[in-house]
């Protein structure tokens, strides 16, 4: 087979050939432009929003950042908040890569949270590691099954998954709400919550009163695994090709149905685990609003990260810091914490519009220069 031809004598890929030092510096600078641009937009927006409320912008922002990342405890809290979101965002990204727009993250998170809450409360107590594993596994299976079912509908019956996943959100969330308020309600509670899980189904806190638990390690492992699966592995290649061009994938022998269902299953499983983390690393039980909005956050962050795992993780971290900072700002001023959502909206639009904006500007400049020349 041609693989065995002596490669060593072949020229390396052309990239390696041309890279003098200063051009790489310039390339780095060019790469930094988008980041700086969005940062600047975010900062300007923040200043406006804070000043509009009658506060000094800089000290207020600093106070917020101090609250979010000021010391180890703050960082731990901010990170703890972001953990489930990271997992969910990676899950959504994974499906996006195979062209499956899993807008149903919210529903899958709820399904996973419910599954973990029930496993944690009605099974056990038992050895912690095992119990936690069981919780995560069950929620992964439940979230995965939901998503895989929707993926199957798309792959085999051609049911548009954008709409089916969107609708599944409401169906699942309302069904979970029904379970939590009626048959599976904790009788000791006045509102719609399930029973508390056993202590053995809770992650242990790493830093006291930060909610940063050993779930961190689970998330790190999941990050690594997802990155490998999506970007490096053969399966990831098949999924990406399916997303890129289903016709190409089919013609070159990739099982498109399997890729679609498989990627949805893993995507749903990750969302399910995100839900499980909400229970086992934080709430200790399911309640009707346990993950409100996380699914949509994940969808948005996955899109803005263009479904690339590393970029998704970075975006989630930035987002977490912003949310946390806004909570801090709310405590020291009357600036509503909704500011963070306004900011992130602005930043995302700025990031996606940047290229277009620059082309428009360049166009204007050209037109100007041309008119000068005439």
């Amino acid at each position: 087979m041609s693989l065995k031809t002596p490669f060593k004598t072949l020229p390396q890929s052309q990239e390696g050939v041309k890279s003098p030092a200063n051009s790489s510096v310039r390339a780095l600078a060019r790469r930094a432009v988008p980041g700086l641009f969005t940062l600047a937009v975010g900062l300007v927006l923040a200043v406006i929003l804070i000043e509009a409320q009658g506060y000094q912008a800089l000290p207020t922002i600093m106070a917020g950042l101090d609250y979010a990342v000021g010391d180890a405890t703050s960082i731990a809290r901010t990170l703890a908040w972001g953990l489930p979101l990271i997992v969910a965002t990676l899950g959504v990204s994974l499906a996006y890569r195979s062209g499956m727009f899993n807008i149903g993250a919210e529903g899958q998170i709820y399904a996973g949270a419910m599954a973990a809450a029930l496993t944690g409360a009605y099974i056990g107590p038992m050895f912690t590691g095992l119990h936690l594993f069981l919780c995560l596994a069950v929620s992964a299976v439940v979230g995965g099954a939901v998503a895989a079912g929707l993926g199957w509908l798309r792959a085999v019956w051609n049911v548009d998954e954008v709409l089916s996943t969107l609708l599944s959100n409401y169906i699942i969330m309302l069904f979970c709400a029904y379970l939590a308020t009626a048959p599976l309600r904790d009788p000791a509670r006045q509102s719609g919550t399930t029973r508390a899980v056993h202590d053995t189904a809770m992650f242990t806190e790493l830093i006291p009163s930060t909610q940063l638990t050993s779930a961190l390690f689970v998330v790190i492992v999941l990050c690594g695994a997802t990155w490998w699966l999506s970007e490096r592995s053969v399966t990831g290649y098949r999924w990406r090709m399916t997303g890129e061009s289903p016709a190409f994938a089919a013609a070159s022998g990739i099982n498109v149905r399997r890729s679609r269902i498989g990627s949805m299953a893993v995507s749903g499983a990750l969302c399910g685990i995100a839900g499980a983390l909400l229970v086992t690393a934080s709430q200790g039980r399911f309640w009707t609003e346990i993950g409100t909005g996380i699914g949509w956050d994940a969808v948005l962050l996955a899109m803005i990260a263009r479904a690339r795992p590393v970029s998704a993780i970075i975006w989630v971290l930035v987002y977490s810091v912003m949310r946390s900072a806004a909570r801090g700002i709310e405590q020291v001023s009357t600036v509503p914490s909704e500011m963070s959502l306004i900011l992130i909206s602005g930043i995302i639009i700025a990031a996606t519009a940047r290229a277009g904006l620059f082309t428009r500007l360049a166009e204007l400049k050209n037109r100007y220069i041309r008119s000068e020349g005439k």
Binding site: D160, L163, Y170, L300, E338, S345, T352
Partner: protein, 306 residues
Amino acid sequence: MELLNSFLGSGVRLTTPILLAALACLPTQWTKDLNVGLEGAMLFGAFGGVVFGLAFGSGFAAVTLTIAAGILSGLVFGWMITRLNVNVFIAGIVLNIFAGAATVYLLRSLFGVKGTLSAPGIPSLPTYRIPFIDGVPILGPILSGHTVLTYLSWVIVAVALFAVKNTVLVRHLKAAGEHPAALAAAGGNVQRMRILAQVWCFALCAIAGAQLSIGQLTLFTEGMTNGLGFVALAAVIFCRGRVLLLTMMSVVFGLASAVAIQVNDEVIPPQIAQMLPYLIAFIGLVVLARTSKDGGVRIATPTMES
């Protein structure tokens, strides 16, 4: 009979904002720039209705100014997705999130309140009782006693049905979506069509929102659209560009919500009843994909490239 009347009246009222939002979204589906930000646009509309209503003390002024603001926002949104190449799907989701946050922020900044803005100064749109029909069982609650915006939504349906058949504009809108290069090569203006669709979308969402805040109620509540935008979106995706089907779906959703409200919690738990519109849409989607040739065609394709 009383129960039926109340159910029908309720159904019509609940249908109105869904129908308006769905009609708003329709042209954006024709131009293949499906605006998924209906929820957000409606929320701004509802907010605008109350703010302008308070400022000018008249329902008419409130609706007019809200529509004007909608048109302006539509221009900006359209400019972003056409000239700045912002992905319309991302922009739509961002709009939803942005509207939720910005209305809260503004509510606080402008009025210093949280949650609900309810003031005696907020005007409400009058309802019209049609003299003879009003008392007729079934027909009465359907035809009589609604706000001008409800009747407007029916007029828009009729106009849309007519326009699809007989206007050049709708043809260009559809061409801009189905084969933009063809329209451009034939001398049409693709960008103008795409922007126009968004302007229409925002203007009608403004009306839908105003119907919520000063038509049905006379107050504004944070997040008062409560998922209506997504229900409307489902109707739009479902109808595949056809006005009549869109109208039917909106009515079905409206009636399903009415059922959910009227049914007793001992018969069906409220959560399950609330699920109804979504379940209907879901099952309909599957049936559509199985039975019709274009059922499987996806229309809402978010794209990932930058």
